[in-house]
């Protein structure tokens, strides 16, 4: 379950002790990383595509006003309607109004992180409309009253027995002797149940991976086909999406698609990549009669022109989550944000404020893996560092940490004193620990020694050794 943003440290500790979650994490990590690498090894052009993808997004953001206006005009020319929404509240209201105008009782939903961001489902329910999540992972989470723990594999934290338990509890027509021996049996059960929902829904809501200014199209990428049933069968299709999803042309979209699936699931191409442009045409025999785009800002325009602008390039592939040692240890719920991992650590403070999300940019080892796998080259560690600076400037970090840093800074600014002090400390600790070679406990190092020993320094400090060697090398 999504936990409190402020309680990150407590959440992380309980996540590490959660056996089911640890089993799921151990399973997911090699799955994603190896598949991604295998797909990239098959495409020598991947690095060139990565550069091109980053350039396309930079070009679009530098001209975002132009491309949004062009996109909106193209949507309207194809018979669709764009609803511009500055805030999450505006977006919820706009979506509700379209549903109410359509007389909707049931709404099917394709997977959409923006609808999670704006908390659309509880709002629709409170207004008498039943949203039905149709992505398999999102469906089980809805039955369990949980939120996604991963931006592309929302239910990866669950194990098979969790699925079976939820189906037995929620699908009340299930015979008691129904056997779920294989994963396939669970899939078949969900397929049957959701088929009824697809056919009965009045409105279908999807997100968008890309919006194309040239044609006014929204593009979704899925493997299950649930997004396509959602946007094809009901009378009304609503696309809930955000302003940074716009790209100029079909060709630009194709370049981004070539890096998206490979970075996300390690597929060359997802099974269904679908371009939707407006409502059904006069001669069409199927498709929605109304096509609406709820275009959400919710803090994104304020990132333009700032040091966080690079984050607007994000295409939500989750490669940074899949390669992050912190995410790999604690999973997604501990972050307390629907955007977890490195991308979430940068984006969440933008959406909720650094005063509540300050833990997230600190939950990083700065190993740099996230930046190295990002298909649009977002400098994630640098952006987290910017947040840490802001947090420090605003005196939001804890006093002990601030005094510690101030003390360290005092020495660091005086190199001679720094070397003398570290040398004295190394000698003293080395002397104390020369018998055993390690410490089970040290003052001020409880965080370290609680889980492992601290090795006793052997010999001189780095600076002293370096100076000695330089001297020895000199003629």
């Amino acid at each position: 379950m999504l936990q409190s943003l402020a309680a990150f440290k407590e959440n992380a500790t309980s996540a590490i002790g959660n056996a089911g979650l640890q089993r799921a994490l151990a399973r997911a990590k090699p799955h994603f990383a190896q598949k991604r690498q295998a797909a990239i090894d098959l495409l020598p052009e991947f690095e060139a595509l990565r550069g091109a993808a980053a350039n396309i997004k930079n070009h679009t953001i530098a001209n975002l006003d132009f491309y949004l206006e062009t996109y909106a005009a193209a949507v309207e020319a194809s018979g669709g309607t764009v609803h511009w929404c500055s805030t999450a509240q505006d977006a919820r209201q706009a979506t509700l109004k379209i549903c109410q105008n359509a007389g909707a009782k049931t709404v099917t939903k394709g997977k959409s992180m923006v609808t999670e961001e704006i908390s659309l489902n509880p709002f629709l329910e409170a207004n008498g409309i039943t949203p039905v999540e149709t992505d398999l992972g999102e469906y089980i989470l809805q039955l369990r009253g949980e939120t996604p723990s991963h931006i592309i594999a929302p239910a990866f934290h669950l194990n098979r027995e969790d699925w079976e338990e939820s189906f037995r509890k929620s699908h009340t027509d299930l015979p008691a002797d129904r056997v779920f021996r294989e994963r396939r049996d669970l899939l078949t059960e969900a397929r049957g149940k959701l088929r009824e929902k697809f056919l009965a829904a009045d409105v279908g809501i999807t997100g968008a991976n890309f919006l194309i200014a040239e044609t006014g199209s929204s593009v979704i990428v899925t493997n299950e086909g649930n997004g396509d049933l959602t946007q094809t069968l009901p009378r009304v299709h609503i696309v809930v999406t955000s302003i940074e999803k716009v790209v100029p042309t079909i060709e630009d979209t194709l370049t981004l698609l070539r890096v998206l699936a490979r970075s996300a699931t390690g597929q060359d191409m997802s099974v269904y990549t679908t371009f939707s442009t407006g409502p059904r045409r006069a001669t069409d025999t199927d498709g929605p009669q109304e096509y609406h785009v709820v275009l959400v800002d919710n803090g994104r325009s304020a990132m333009v022109g700032t040091q966080f602008q690079d984050m607007l390039r994000c295409i939500r592939c989750a490669a940074c989550l899949n390669h992050c040692p912190v995410y790999g240890a604690i999973g997604g719920h501990a972050y307390g944000s629907i955007y977890p991992g490195p991308m979430g650590a940068v984006l969440t403070p933008m959406l909720t404020g650094i005063d509540t999300a300050g833990h997230l940019p600190n939950a990083s080892t700065f190993c740099g893996k996230c930046e190295s796998v990002c298909p649009v080259k977002i400098p994630l560690p640098n952006l987290m560092r910017h947040w840490r600076e802001r947090e420090f400037e605003r005196h939001l970090s804890p006093p002990a940490q601030r005094y510690g840093l101030a003390l360290w800074a005092f020495f660091a600014r005086r190199p001679a004193l720094y070397r003398a002090a570290t040398r004295a400390a190394a000698l003293a600790i080395g002397l104390l620990g020369r018998k055993q070679g390690h410490f089970a406990w040290l003052p001020f190092a409880g965080g370290w020694t609680r889980t492992r020993d601290f090795p006793a320094p052997e010999g001189d400090t780095f600076f002293a050794q370096y100076a000695a060697r330089q001297k020895a090398r000199a003629p």
Binding site: R183, G216, S217, I250, L254, Y272, R281, V304
Partner: protein, 227 residues
């Protein structure tokens, strides 16, 4: 209201007003020429090479592929495919001219109906606009004779693809779509699907299972000698 608010907020952050006319003209011309990004070399082959690569990648993604030399072979090929999988010998067919021309009387065991798939229908035959060798992908535009529902609702999907329509890259396939469009310029058909293999999900324990919500099986009939 919000439109103005969002656009002016972006312009304020970019420290400028609306783009000057000459820069707008530059961007408009980029939209009109829609330049390509890097195109993977692996699809850049002659037609037999593209057919082979398309087949290789489609099969890698769990589609099945059969190559036929004449439309006359289609009915018996489909009847045999359905029989082999113990599927009902019924077929819903998109009302595409090339599909309407198929001599289905040659396979009297097949019950065929032209139109849009209904929930109870088991197998659907549709016609691809193009195939893309790079990843074994099919390009399926919507239209009065190619309803989108037929791509996505049936349990079993059989798609006819003329061999000559197998392109090297997605870009080549979209160029064909742009060249042959009957809709207004700079617009796409209402729905354009790029399909690579049958429906699947790895949401249960990160383990791939075929047949999530779309077709459980995808069978591609590549038809030689047609333009």
């Amino acid at each position: 209201m919000s439109r103005t608010a969002i656009i002016t907020a972006i312009q304020r952050c970019l420290k400028r007003g609306p783009l000057p006319a000459d820069q707008q003209a530059m961007l408009t011309s980029r939209l009109a020429t829609h330049p390509r990004g890097p195109i993977p070399a692996r699809g850049q082959l002659d037609l037999p090479g593209r057919i082979a690569l398309f087949t290789q990648y489609a099969e890698r993604e769990f589609a099945t592929v059969a190559q036929l030399t004449s439309p006359a072979e289609i009915p018996t090929a489909i009847a045999a495919y359905l029989a082999r999988l113990h599927l009902p010998p019924t077929l819903t067919i998109s009302p595409h001219p090339a599909l309407e021309a198929i001599p289905f009387a040659a396979a009297p065991s097949l019950q065929v109906r032209f139109g849009t798939t209904l929930p109870a229908d088991s197998t659907c035959l549709t016609h691809a606009f193009a195939g893309i060798a790079e990843t074994g992908t099919l390009l399926m535009p919507s239209g009065p004779r190619t309803p989108t529902t037929n791509n996505i609702l049936p349990d079993n999907s059989i798609i006819l693809l003329p061999a000559a329509r197998i392109t090297a890259s997605y870009e080549d396939a979209f160029d064909l779509l742009r060249a042959e469009q009957t809709f207004p310029r700079q617009t796409l058909p209402r729905n354009v699907m790029l399909i690579t293999g049958p429906s699947r999900s790895a949401d249960i324990e990160q383990t791939l299972e075929l047949g999530a919500h779309g077709p459980r099986r995808l069978h591609i009939l590549i038809l030689d000698g047609q333009g």
